[in-house]
Symmetry: C2
Subunit: 75 residues, 2 copies
């Protein structure tokens, strides 16, 4: 099995950079601690759904867009 | 704003029941405590992504299928 949390952080980074969002800007908009945003970005922490929803609102994307598919998890 | 966690639990329940999965069966397959599964089912707890991935694997669905869209969150 792959590491789904790593896939999540890769997708998050791709969306964040695609929208030209710095980690600082994301931290500011989500009111999540800046260093914690860095750890999320690197896939080092296991965040909660509520935090995922905050990030989705800030990045203006569906929460599901940041998640691996079942196939990716099982691969 | 709606309660995205409630939308998540409603979607989870719909998928679980649609696949004829009892809470017991879900608890057994995910190795998540049976009473905690009940609380997740009722939207009473803020689960982590890793728990979401476990549930998705057990229910054989994409994790994103259980989540609200951005539109639903902002509604």
């Amino acid at each position: 099995m792959s590491d789904p949390n790593k896939i999540f952080s890769e997708k998050l980074r791709a969306i964040r950079k695609g929208k030209d969002f710095s980690q600082d800007k994301l931290a500011e908009l989500t009111k999540i601690d800046r260093s914690y945003i860095g750890r999320i970005d690197r896939g080092e922490v296991n965040i909660t759904l509520e935090m995922l929803f905050k990030i989705a609102v800030a990045l203006e994307c569906d929460p599901g867009e940041m998640l691996p598919s079942l196939k990716q998890i099982l691969h």
